[in-house]
């Protein structure tokens, strides 16, 4: 706290979302009674500040600033109940004090970032780079750093992204420096013990300033570079301070990140700052409040100024003494454990509290902190295992709180983005139902289709895809559009996923992917490709890869393959890059091939028949994929299924034989011998029938028109003795009754002209040099052994019985 010559200005350095800071700050305010408040925050936010005291406003909420013409450029400033800024803001509004946000305007920061991106690049290159960066942002988290729109940085407390990125030396987190110097594992635990978990008052801010001054000097000494954005921001804040002083307030309280305290108190001539700030570019921005979550406040979400455990901080904010704090925290953990069905008695809690205290003593800590409590729970309650802790982690450590904002708050950016798209694509939201026929070869229609698919992924059912009605044409899509007023609720809900339609859809899809099973993943993949979510597709491919590697269910893989191959084959129509999907297919086929035998053996008839469909489509898919290596592997796997010893049911064996036969992957003689084997007298009639019907397939048409197949069956049939024939007759009847009546008639007709059919190509292939004379020689002898009396015509004619 520094005395200024004429007026008093006190600078309170805080940690964003630090409950200890918040408590000390309020105590300081009560003592000192400031008459004006300056907060490190975006000046754009001042217009919606009054909502902060609205009854309907429940933190966590975020101040959301976004570029008007490009809603995906957005900066979130989250506040929790225990954030010092939030407490300060409420204090000021309650006491009718003027509040000013004094950080560099977001409008300027967006513009500066644009300059950086476009500087010295041809337009194409810069665009792609920007897209990439923005998408990186979107994949990182729904939140962005409170003081920096460049998300993805990990600085914990003083979170200047630029500092992190260009760090010349280990300067990622000044608290880590101090923490390590004090012998702690990280700055986080040091700060928690020194500041947040203590209950002390005003001296705190002096101590913080001293610490930060030391670190900043150290950085200077080690030659760490100062970054332009940081200099600009601090210059801007200083000039705001000067302005406030001119306005004549007597006691001005400044609440800012601890890191900036020395800079704000430094004596810098006004003209230097003004020179620095002169002529800065600006972009148009809009501002509103958005509901926020504890998950979004957690550092794990990628939020730069995030904290390890919002729920623990809330507990610290509400809790009283050090001892009661530990016990009540452990008690709430116990409740969660019990909800998960784990034993957790009061005795457990007592022992956990004792262990946590002993641990704290062993580590020279004044009281048990979050790490000690968690370790105690794991050791005493969870039998040392990490898993039960994981089950309650989200609720215990992160917390599940979801904020609420008053109805009067301005619209969320996603809504704006959808409205903008509706305008540019000339798709008016109408309550009347109407049908839309899209020709995907036209650019606008393609865009419309993408928009509708994206909204579908976000559960905003404005349009219903009527593809099933419109046939399977790849160039046309039929949609039924109907806008119902309630859909606005879905839009607002979806707003949590992102500020533009494409971002939100991508994030939502990835989130669902993290919980989906394989077939659902393939479906999502299809949806993501239809919606053209480039980045999400990459994520889905990775998820598919992981899931495919882990699944023990070959059947799932089988079911997933056709969808993926379809994506590879037809994705091109929509101009999507399917190279990664192809790689995925290439990785999946060997897995299926290895597991196929296991998956198929030991199944009963019913499950085997269920497997037949997926097998057939997977076979088809692999053939379509057209990779020789994959086909070879797959056919090898199918071949393994053929013999009865494979343990596969006759249905599967017959199907495998047929699939291989269709592909000419199995020599004709081999197929014939498989058939003879399967239908030989020793086989169970039931299984022989299954084999044959699955070999012939559902329709007789192929049998009718495929000469080699016909020849094969014909040859087997004619080779049967009378008794054998009579024996297999019921089985044959059963197989053939599955065909329709006209099909059976056609079969009979073809069979009756069988002698002439013998001259057909396949037959000649089978018997390339048919020497009647020589063939006739052994006939009497054969007839003798086989006890046959009829002639060959009669035998062939039997085919008609079927």
């Amino acid at each position: 706290m520094t005395m200024d010559d004429a007026l008093q200005i006190r600078v309170f350095g805080i940690r964003h979302h630090g409950p200890g800071c918040a408590r000390s700050l309020l105590r300081a305010f009560e003592d000192w009674r400031p008459d004006a408040l300056l907060i490190e925050g975006p000046p754009e936010g001042e217009s919606v500040l009054s909502l902060a005291v609205d009854e309907a406003m429940v933190p966590p909420v975020a101040l959301l600033v976004y570029a008007e013409e490009e809603a995906r450029r957005a900066a979130f400033y989250p506040f929790a109940e225990f954030s010092p800024e939030w407490r300060a803001l409420r204090y000021a509004l309650r006491h009718n004090l003027p509040v000013k946000f004094i950080d560099l305007p977001i409008a300027v920061r967006f513009a500066l970032e644009d300059d950086e991106d476009t500087g010295g690049k041809d337009s194409d290159g810069s665009n792609s780079r920007k897209d990439r960066e923005l998408l990186e942002e979107s994949s990182a988290s729904p939140s962005e750093d409170i003081f920096s729109a460049e998300a993805g940085t990990k600085a914990t407390v003083e979170e200047d992204a630029e500092k992190d990125r260009h760090a010349d030396f280990d300067m990622t987190d000044p608290l880590d420096w101090l923490g390590r110097a004090a012998g702690y594992e990280s700055g986080e635990s040091w700060w928690n013990h020194m500041v947040e978990e203590r209950l002390d008052g005003l001296e705190l801010f002096d101590a913080i300033r001293e610490a930060m001054t030391a670190v900043r000097q150290e950085r200077e000494r080690l030659g760490g570079t100062r970054f332009r954005m940081e200099e600009l921001r601090e210059a801007y804040m200083r000039s705001c301070l000067r302005k406030a002083r001119k306005e004549g307030w007597q006691r001005i309280a400044v609440v800012c990140g601890a890191w900036h305290v020395p800079a704000l108190e430094a004596r810098v001539p006004a003209k230097d700052d003004n020179a620095l700030l002169k002529g800065l570019p600006k972009r148009k921005v809009a501002v509103t409040w958005a509901p926020w979550t504890y998950a979004g406040l957690s550092v794990r979400s990628g939020y730069g100024a995030g904290v390890e455990s919002p729920a623990w901080y809330e507990h610290l904010w509400r809790g009283a003494t050090v001892e009661s704090r530990a016990v009540s925290w452990l008690a709430s953990a116990a409740r969660l454990f019990r909800e998960e069905g784990l034993d957790c008695s009061p005795a457990h809690i007592i022992e956990s509290a004792r262990l946590a205290e002993t641990l704290a003593a062993l580590r020279n800590l004044p009281g048990a902190g979050l790490p000690e409590l968690c370790e105690a729970l794991r050791t005493v309650v969870c039998m040392g295992e990490e898993t039960p802790m994981r089950m309650i982690e989200r609720r215990l450590i992160t917390g599940e709180k979801l904020g609420r904002i008053p109805e009067g708050a301005p619209a969320v950016p996603l809504q704006r983005d959808i409205e903008r798209l509706q305008k540019t694509l000339r798709l008016k939201p109408e309550v009347l139902q109407k049908t839309l026929d899209l020709d995907l070869r036209k650019e606008t229609d393609l865009e419309r289709s993408r928009m509708l698919h994206r909204m579908r992924l976000l559960d905003i059912p404005w349009g219903r895809d009527r593809r099933e009605g419109g046939g399977k044409g790849t160039f046309h899509e039929l949609w039924q559009l109907q806008w119902e007023p309630e859909l606005i609720v879905n839009v607002i809900n979806a707003g949590a996923w992102g500020s533009t339609l494409v971002d939100a859809a991508a994030r939502r899809t990835l989130d669902r992917a993290s919980r989906a099973d394989l077939p659902e993943l393939a479906e999502l993949m299809d949806g993501a490709l239809l919606a053209d979510l480039g980045e999400a597709v990459d994520g889905l491919v990775r998820a598919l890869q992981d899931r495919a590697a882990l699944t023990t269910d070959t059947l799932q893989l089988l079911r997933t393959l056709p969808e993926l191959v379809r994506v590879v084959r037809y994705g091109d129509v929509r101009g999507t890059d399917t190279g990664m999907v192809l790689a995925l297919v290439e990785g999946m086929v060997p897995r299926v091939a290895v597991g196929l035998h296991m998956a198929c053996s030991g199944l009963d008839a019913e499950s085997s028949s269920e497997l037949a469909g997926p097998l057939r489509s997977a076979h088809e898919a692999i053939r379509l994929a057209g990779r020789e290596e994959l086909t070879r592997m797959w056919n090898q796997a199918l071949r393994c299924l053929l013999p009865e010893e494979s343990g596969a049911h006759a249905v599967i064996r017959g199907l495998a034989a047929r699939l291989l036969f269709d592909d000419n992957a199995l020599a004709l003689e081999d197929v014939a011998s498989q058939m003879a084997l399967a239908l030989s007298p020793a086989s169970e009639p039931e299984s022989a029938a299954s084999w044959l019907s699955s070999f012939l397939g559902e329709s007789a048409m192929v049998l009718l028109h495929d000469d080699s197949l016909w020849g094969l069956v014909d040859q087997w049939l004619t080779g049967l003795s009378d008794e054998r024939f009579t024996a297999v007759l019921p089985m044959l009847r059963r197989t053939f009754t599955e065909f329709s009546a006209p099909e059976r008639r056609q079969l009979a007709e073809r069979a009756s002209r069988a002698p002439s059919a013998g001259a057909e190509p396949s037959e000649t292939v089978l018997h390339p040099a048919w020497d009647e004379e020589r063939a006739a020689l052994p006939l009497p002898f054969l007839r003798n052994i086989l006890g046959l009396t009829g002639n060959s015509e009669a035998i062939i004619a039997r085919g008609a019985h079927g």
Partner: protein, 367 residues
């Protein structure tokens, strides 16, 4: 300590921890000014230093006994200080007994009060037995009583160790319950009891992957704080442990083979880690995990038997073929499921890896 003592100690095959590291324990005792729980030889802080290693103020260097997470050791020591019993849990080869021995040595200066748990461990071994000659001659008396290590630990206020707790039959296990909660051991025959002196505690070890163990009753479970000792965190750490142990064991087995090439150890450790962790070391590909534990100890035995093969049937230099035979055996424990997993790993991971062709072929040849 006289010279005969020293001579005797250097000739024993294996020294107790408190003998081997007597110098370190003494040095720690000298600088340790922090409060000690009753009957502890060192303060909890000094016990942690002894386990994890470190430099003392007077320049003395304490070697690390446990290589791994310091926080786990802190939890273990804090547990013993709260008078709750400690259960060290983990897959084989994660240094459970090693840690238990050193904890007992550092806290009580005595790591020999040990009960080895087996399927045949009886209640007499846990509590007390009788010297029957004495019993018949003079009737029941303290002289006729044969104390178990546990009983001695209670009487002297020291740490007792129970190895492989889960191998002990359930009814015998439960005799620990009274000891742990009442801290006393009644002797009804003499109408007496032994009350535990301060400083008494129990460190038990158990194997969490062993099949067919006697699961602890929940009453007993509640009397233990459990610390799970994990498998080594990084590949380098594990390679270091395997190489060191293989070298030591090779010396004691007097194998004429060369010490194994670093590259071969690295490959075995990597295969073990990848299968155990369910993903490749570069984190790019997931793999399925077989049913076996694939612990560091097993990696050591794979290398060892490979070395034996190389020494007695090969040219003395460990090659891919020598490793392959025992490698497949170590991975494929379940002939059906594990084989599929192993094949998948062979085809999707090993086959693609450059420089691994020889091992890939050798593994295929084993089949």
């Amino acid at each position: 300590m006289n010279t005969a003592d020293i001579k005797e100690r250097t000739s024993v095959l294996r020294q107790h921890a408190e003998q081997q590291f007597a110098e370190e324990l003494d040095a720690l005792k000298m600088v340790d000014a922090r409060p000690r729980p009753a009957n502890w030889q060192l303060s909890p802080w000094a016990v942690c230093i002894y386990l994890m290693g470190g430099n003392l103020e007077n320049g003395f260097k304490v070697t690390p006994k446990y290589i791994g997470n310091r926080r786990l050791m802190e939890i273990a020591v804090a547990t013993l200080a709260t008078d709750r019993a400690l259960l060290l849990y983990g897959v084989p080869g994660t240094a459970k007994s090693w840690v238990s021995e050193h904890l007992a040595a550092a806290i009580s200066g005595d790591s020999t009060l040990i009960i080895q748990g087996t399927a045949g461990t009886s209640e007499e071994q846990m509590r007390y037995g009788w010297n029957y000659a004495e019993l018949l001659a003079k009737g029941p008396s303290r002289q006729a009583l044969v104390q178990s290590p546990l009983m001695r630990a209670m009487a002297e206020g020291r740490i007792a160790r129970v190895e492989e707790l889960t191998r002990i039959p359930a009814d015998v296990q439960d005799s620990l319950i009274t000891i742990l909660s009442e801290k006393s051991l009644p002797i009804p025959e003499l109408n007496e009891e032994v009350q535990a002196v301060r400083g008494f505690n129990v460190i038990a070890t158990a194997n969490n992957r062993d099949k067919g163990v006697n699961e602890l009753s929940s009453a007993l479970k509640r009397r233990f704080n459990t610390v799970v000792l994990p498998v080594p965190a990084t590949e380098e750490e594990e390679v270091r442990i395997v190489e060191k142990r293989v070298r030591d064991m090779g010396r004691s087995l007097e194998l004429p083979a060369e010490p194994p090439a670093h590259a071969e150890v690295l490959r075995v450790v990597r295969i073990f880690r990848e299968l155990r962790n369910g993903k490749t070391e570069d984190g790019k590909l997931k793999v399925k995990t077989p049913s076996g534990t694939l612990s560091t100890a097993e990696a050591i035995s794979v290398i060892n038997s490979g070395m034996a093969l190389a020494a007695h049937f090969g040219d003395g230099i460990l090659s891919a073929a020598d490793v392959a035979a025992s490698l497949v055996g170590a991975v494929v424990k379940d002939p059906v499921q594990d084989r599929v997993i192993w094949h998948e790993y062979l085809e999707t991971v090993m086959k693609e890896r450059s420089g691994w062709k020889d091992l890939y072929r050798a593994c295929r040849d084993v089949e």
